[in-house]
């Protein structure tokens, strides 16, 4: 019979590898094309001035790549999981706002060409829930380890 702590470790492993792979893929789809394509998607949300759009378009994919690799490797798990949850919360909030306003724009999630729809919201919402669960699990496991010492 599997012990609860083993099951939790397995869930943690599954979540961090899955989310890590998604983040690495998301970064790769942006880094393999000119930064202007991602900038165009960011600009479509009509929230940031042009300079900020350029800065985000040039740096965010590298940040996504770093977070994705940390999750897969399992290094600094609590920080990586928290960063993932925060990032996804921001993405999800922006997408919900755009969808509610009826903006038919590219979500910018995995490169150009994906319009925000209930499907993209469902996908990103599920990812956010997974990231929150991973964050909670990573802190819970840390506390459990500390209490054993």
């Amino acid at each position: 019979m599997t012990s609860p702590s083993k099951a939790l470790r397995a869930v943690t492993l599954l979540l961090r590898v899955a989310l890590g792979a998604v983040f690495v893929y998301a970064a790769w789809t942006k880094l393999r094309t000119p930064w202007e394509l991602f900038a165009m998607s960011i600009d479509s949300y009509q929230l940031l001035p042009l300079k900020a759009v350029e800065l985000v378009a040039r740096t965010l994919p590298w940040f996504e790549l770093a977070v994705g690799l940390l999750l897969i490797a399992g290094f600094w798990l609590r920080s990586a999981a928290t960063a993932t949850a925060l990032l996804l919360a921001v993405f999800f909030g922006l997408m919900v706002r755009a969808y509610a306003k009826g903006m038919e724009i590219n979500c910018g999630c995995f490169g150009p060409g994906e319009i925000i729809s209930w499907k993209t919201l469902l996908r990103d919402g599920s990812m956010l829930a997974s990231a929150l669960a991973l964050t909670a699990l990573s802190f819970f496991q840390r506390r459990k380890t500390a209490s054993l010492i």
Binding site: E36, M40, P112
Partner: protein
């Protein structure tokens, strides 16, 4: 021989990207380093904004200077009741060299004909009687309808997510660009590709 085959393989995607085009629906030098295909719908409000605000800048800075070859593609959306009719007239007008004139008029009066369905009135307003006769007679021609369908099929193959979508190409590199189509970002992309 082998080198020729390699060169052909390298060029094929680029050739395919701009093949089956109507020369009357293009602007600029076909040998320009960058090609931009514009997939647009005459009844789409964002296309009107692009046509009236961004396109003139693109033409001034890149088409007139020989850096960009512009290809207009029809992509009438099913959600717009009169956009295919508008595309028919514009494509028919292109056969006689009036594409730009008719396209300008269609976007200028978009709100009016979109509400009333009187697309022809707008088209006729910028043509002489003789030109009207030619365009009207050609609009339902099988070759015109076929050309529009080819554009639509090409758009679906990319796929075009929304209108307007620009497909910016240089050699084998080809990028679909849609959204707000901010001119500053677009200019940066074209300049980067031109290097």
């Amino acid at each position: 021989m082998r080198l020729g085959a390699v060169a052909l393989l390298w060029l094929l995607p680029a050739m395919a990207a701009v093949s089956d085009i109507d020369a009357n629906k293009t602007a600029g030098n076909p040998a320009a380093p960058v090609t931009i295909q514009v997939f647009s719908d005459f009844e789409c409000p964002s296309c009107k904004v692009f046509h009236e605000q961004t396109l003139p800048l693109l033409q001034r800075d890149f088409v007139a200077t020989g850096k960009v070859y512009l290809v207009y593609r029809e992509f009438p959306l099913a959600m717009h009741a009169h956009s295919r009719e508008a595309a028919n007239y514009a494509t028919a007008a292109a056969r006689f060299g009036f594409y730009q004139t008719v396209a300008d008029a269609l976007f200028r009066d978009q709100v009016a004909w979109s509400a009333t369905g009187k697309v022809w009135d707008t088209v006729a307003s910028v043509l002489t009687l003789a030109q009207q006769k030619k365009v009207k007679a050609t609009a339902d021609d099988a070759s015109v309808l076929g050309e529009i369908q080819r554009d639509v099929n090409a758009g679906h193959a990319i796929p075009v997510p929304s209108t307007p979508t620009l497909v910016v190409s240089r050699g084998v590199k080809s990028y679909p660009v849609s959204g707000t189509l901010n001119y500053e970002i677009l200019r940066s992309l074209i300049n980067d590709l031109s290097k």
